[in-house]
């Protein structure tokens, strides 16, 4: 007499494992590493439970069925739990893994002998149940993580709020009382004392700027992104006109290509363009004629926007460092700034699912380019 289905299943666990592994690696998109597969660690345990369920030797009392059910639910939940902790893992991937497992179990078992409808039914039900348990656990875990993230964000909001309020107040005092000393006791102070007080003032203001820039950077990360039609050309014109009013003695040639529009977050786009244009404005300050142009062109990844200047430029060897917070390529004395602006630009582009990069050469000007994701 041939072996029972249960025995055959148990005997074939290694083959099912390797065949499932090969197919999953091959058929599920994005699975490159065997590590990623949820079922790897628990398939042997799970299949042996299934074998027990298929066994006619084990007395299938109601109590026994409940125990089997609980054991199998635990395995499913463990998959879900493990996968929720794997970055970028999706519920579709989890379902595919089980789907392939079912096919492999059938293929391997039926190679030797066709299963009867009851056996097929039992295997299908068992796997469906395991998928359900795994999927439920997976999504519960994800919801939990989302909730934790939301709470962490609320805490960050409260933190930023108190930073903006409480860190600025002492700076205002430092600047204010230094200035009062300079104004009211001007006759009693010698030039050295006045110089020291000026330094206190300059540094209080510098730190206030730093706090403001950091606040914007943190705001960019935590505000909800709402895409709408944004006229980048209009925004750019608006910003550059304001800058030209602040520096009326500079000779400026400014060009904005008309009708560069994007589906993007208006508030974030304003911050992004403000940063790129003020950057261009700053690093062209030593040029007799400032040339800044803003425009867009089509690229393989959708629309590419650019801000181009004829400023001092930089060595492309440092290009990667440029988008890191606090990283600067020029001394603060030469070109004032906090080193947060381009980190903010990068974060805004990241949040849109786009890319930002830079093309530059010392003394030949700089061009910042960016895409904004989901552009047609």
């Amino acid at each position: 007499m041939s072996k029972s289905v249960s025995e055959r299943l148990k005997a074939n666990i290694p083959e099912i494992m390797s065949s499932w592994q090969a197919r999953a690696m091959n058929e599920i998109e994005g699975v490159r590493d065997f590590e990623v597969l949820a079922l790897r660690d628990s398939i042997p345990e799970y299949l042996s439970q299934m074998a027990d369920a298929l066994s006619t030797k084990i007395d299938r009392t109601e109590a026994r069925k409940v125990l089997d059910r609980e054991a199998s639910a635990r395995v499913g939940q463990r998959h879900g739990q493990l996968r929720a902790e794997t970055p970028n893992y999706t519920i579709n991937q989890l379902i595919m893994e089980y789907h392939i497992l079912r096919q492999v179990v059938f293929d391997v078992l039926e190679k030797e002998e066709v299963l009867n409808p009851t056996q097929r039914e039992l295997i299908i039900c068992s796997i469906e149940q395991a998928v359900n348990d795994a999927a439920t656990e997976f999504s519960d875990r994800l919801n939990g993580q989302t909730k934790e993230l939301k709470e962490a964000n609320l805490e960050l909001d409260a933190f930023s709020y108190s930073v903006s309020h409480d860190l600025r107040a002492p700076l205002r005092s430092m600047d204010g009382f230094s200035d009062l000393l300079l104004e009211k006791y001007s006759l009693k102070l010698n030039d050295e004392a006045k110089g020291y007080l000026e330094r206190i003032r300059v540094n209080s203001q510098k730190m206030a700027q730093l706090i403001d820039d950091l606040l914007i950077l943190s705001k960019v990360g935590r505000t909800e992104l709402i895409r709408e039609q944004v006229d980048i050309s209009f925004t750019a014109n608006h910003i550059i006109k304001r800058m030209m009013r602040l520096g009326p003695d500079r000779v400026v040639k400014f060009e904005v290509a008309p009708a560069c529009t994007a589906m993007a977050d208006l508030g974030l786009m304003r911050i992004l363009m403000e940063n790129l244009i003020s950057n261009a404005w700053k690093y062209t300050s030593q040029k007799p004629v400032t040339k800044i142009s803003v425009g867009c062109e089509s690229g393989s990844d959708g629309k590419v926007f650019f801000v181009k200047d004829n400023g001092i430029g930089f060595d492309m060897a440092y290009a990667d460092e440029l988008f890191k917070a606090f990283h600067r390529l020029h001394s603060v004395k030469e070109y004032p700034g906090t080193g947060i602006g381009l980190a903010t630009v990068k974060r805004i582009v990241d949040r849109h699912g786009g890319k930002v990069w830079v093309e530059s050469f010392p003394d030949q000007g700089t061009t910042f380019k960016f895409t904004l994701g989901t552009q047609k």
Binding site: L171, R201, A208
Partner: protein, 161 residues
Amino acid sequence: MSHNPVPFNNAKGFKILLVEDNSDDETLTLEVFKTYPAQIDISVVRDGKEALDYLFYQGVFSERTPKWEPSLIIMDLKIPKVPGIEVIKQIRKNPLTQIIPIVIFSSSLEDKDIYEGYMAGANSYIRKPVDFKIFTQAINQVLNYWLAFNETHSKHYENKF
């Protein structure tokens, strides 16, 4: 420090209520008031409850004389006891104080604070500048606008309704 000539025609002088819990900010603000080219009476209260007691002649201010309503309220939002937003709402609810201009002077640049400030009935929202020169300019312009240029109707007219 020089100021543009401003048309002062209010012989009674100006009365300002300053709601500020930070004593440094209070000193700095008062220093600017001192240099303003018009007589200003200033009362300072240091939390939300004091502000309401002062305006509504309650608590420690129940005997406050002479009875006068400020021509301008300058207040911080983040103040102890009664929050700034609540203070503004109470001021707007009371017929005695409902039209007094309120200028918020706050460190915060959060949309939430600005929006809630206006919704509660503030007339203006100014973020306290760190640079004292700009701080001075801001206060001078607020005083010029609300005390010199801005017109208000007389109490008698209001009483007809």
